[in-house]
Symmetry: C2
Subunit: 385 residues, 2 copies
């Protein structure tokens, strides 16, 4: 059908070969429409478009909307469905279309990202707020996707290591931030979604952060890397997952830290090691810092806390007091007002208060989102070292 239309249009163009320019433009408008999506207006409102003559329903969900919420597109001329949304704050978002109920990335958007097992199209709404995680004209650090032995987990595993600009050509030693992802993520998450490398590039270039190495591990103790899932080892079930309790934290401190300190030029002491994580990675951060109180001098817990409502709070309080006594330069906690982990976050804050461990707390709008985690990293990194 489309092919026929094309042939007709071409024949028409050939037939009207002597036509004026204005006529040619009119003919051009008769051909298959060129679909632009997403289109960001100067006022930061965004129009989404998708071409389908046959679809009966097209909706979209974006990361600025509620989970499961759907926005309907309207079918216009030539089968182009579209919707325009109100201006968005400058940030990085992602979205999916649903074509007759089937999730799809935007076929005309060349930029997609993976969040765990799900792909979505990327929407960058540029502005002052997004500058800290965009690729700017600054020197750039490198990311090494590297394999390391993990004796405590009995396998080689993969991690990403960011080295700051100048690392390769210089001789300096650097402090290290160990940065942990959440459930559903892997060693790729903090760069692909969190843009940690670009955030560090920008903060270092502007003098807001000290140059540092950032180590991004895979926090799923049952995986060697995200690649291991091809062609497919299945994740543990709810029942077998308990076997892995505490194992990642052990491998982080006993395998990863020594490997980094042997293979990179780092300052290998507590005052030059920071640990931060989001959600599940915040839980890993809490556990690792309580279990190994002499390892990390700076601690960041993003959108996380004490997940277990039945946790032994008296026992935890003792551990927090021990951590306080061992000395912590900065314990920084951040959570969004609408985050579903707020109760867990409050349990953590209560323990920090009770134990007398000096800390800072930042609360902002929004929920359990990468927009918040990018913000938290942008605030936390400048406090370090």
């Amino acid at each position: 059908m489309k092919f026929n239309q094309l042939i007709k249009s071409l024949a028409l163009i050939l037939f009207l070969g002597v036509s004026t320019r204005i006529q040619a433009q009119e003919i051009s408008a008769m051909q298959a429409p060129r679909v632009v999506s997403p289109e960001i207006a100067d006022n930061r409102s965004v129009t989404f478009r998708v071409l389908s003559e046959k679809a009966t329903e097209v909706t979209l969900n974006g990361s600025w909307m509620g989970f499961g919420e759907k926005l309907s597109l309207t079918k216009g001329a030539q089968g182009v469905w579209s919707v325009t949304i109100d201006p968005l704050p400058s940030s990085m978002y992602h979205y999916n279309f649903f074509i007759d109920g089937v999730s799809a990335i935007d076929p005309t958007n060349a930029h997609a990202l993976r969040d765990g097992t799900r792909y979505a199209s990327l929407l960058m709404v540029p502005g002052d707020e997004s500058k800290v995680f965009q690729l700017n004209e600054t020197p750039h650090g490198n990311i090494t996707q590297m394999w390391y032995p993990s004796p405590s987990l009995g396998t080689d595993r993969r991690m990403y290591v960011y080295t700051p600009p100048g690392y390769d050509s210089g001789k300096d030693s650097y402090p290290v931030l160990y940065l942990l992802h959440g459930a559903g993520g892997d060693e790729d998450a903090w760069t692909a979604l969190g843009r940690a490398n670009l955030i560090l590039d920008n903060l270092i270039a502007s003098g807001k952060s000290k140059p540092m190495i950032v180590v991004m591990t895979n926090g799923n103790a049952w995986q060697t890397s995200t690649l291991r899932e091809i062609p497919g080892i299945t994740a543990p079930t709810r029942e077998t997952r308990g076997q892995f309790q505490g194992k990642f934290e052990k491998s982080l401190v006993e395998d990863v830290v020594p490997y980094i300190e042997k293979n990179f030029r780092v300052k290998p002491d507590k005052n030059h090691r920071a640990l931060a994580g989001l959600s599940m990675g915040g839980g890993h951060t809490i556990t690792a810092s309580l279990t190994y109180p002499d390892t990390f001098g700076y601690i960041g817990v993003f959108s996380s806390g004490i997940f277990d409502a039945n946790a032994d709070m008296a026992d935890l309080e003792k551990k927090f007091i021990a951590l306080k006594d061992s000395g912590v330069s900065n314990y920084w906690v951040a959570c969004g007002k609408e985050d579903f982990v707020m109760e867990s976050n409050k349990r953590l804050l209560s323990l920090l208060e009770k134990s007398g461990l000096k800390h800072e707390y930042f609360e902002n709008e929004g929920g359990h989102t990468w927009a918040n985690w990018r913000t938290y990293l942008s605030m936390f990194a400048p406090m370090l070292f």
Copy 2:
């Protein structure tokens, strides 16, 4: 609507709380079907499924099919569309669904890949033939996504560097393969689609290839990296593209090679430098090796050749003779029988014949595909150094 169904099902389950296990299973069957896709049978036939009550037409195109060819899925019970295809040879493929004409990746397949500006779902059909590019239980090399200065292009640019297992902990110096992608690709293509790092891991582990460093650059002289495209610098037009003629080759030899030889432990001589590329990258390989005949001792041209049917063949023959006189250890050419570049490939072979430059030629089934390029790399790497 679905939410209502869920509520009803939940109410039913609560109401039937005293029911037997068999009843619970029956209830479960009343709920939304669990869709598995792709499902690979023991005989390597593959079933694709997608859930849509509302779609009027669902088709798919896979990399084992012709370009633009469409295979129809049939709607079955509970809105599950499916199709089963004949057994496929063991390899890595990719595919897209078309939901009422809209391209979509398979929403139940957690593995997708990017080919230029287009995303597709990954299909790994395991078997003997795929072992050379799968993640096996071998030591793994690292990939560094690194930025380097390119004085000849006036900007910092990004490349991927594979270092073989043992590089970090050892002191040895290594030979280097410079490996170039095709049009539409970037510095990510040879690892994401070509799985060059896994191919080298496997060939080195089995003793078939010498340990080597592999450098994968961005062959689009107008880009600094694929990241530069976010939030968007547009590619040159057909008219302005000519400005970049020969510039990538110059930056490769004058910027990249010296940078690698300064920053990595390499053997910095012609007999320890190889250059290979596919399609456009094969063109870059031909040009760079003719322009700088003293730089590379091993040359691989995959699915490529002399693209310009009006090229000055006499002039080229002189350059090939000069390259022959400078000494080449191996000039290896490979092309698929159905490849649309066959005429270009033949022009290259004719020049090699006429100039008397010793070379080898491999021709196999298939066309301009990553399946072939993975095969060619798997054959070429063992011939090196």
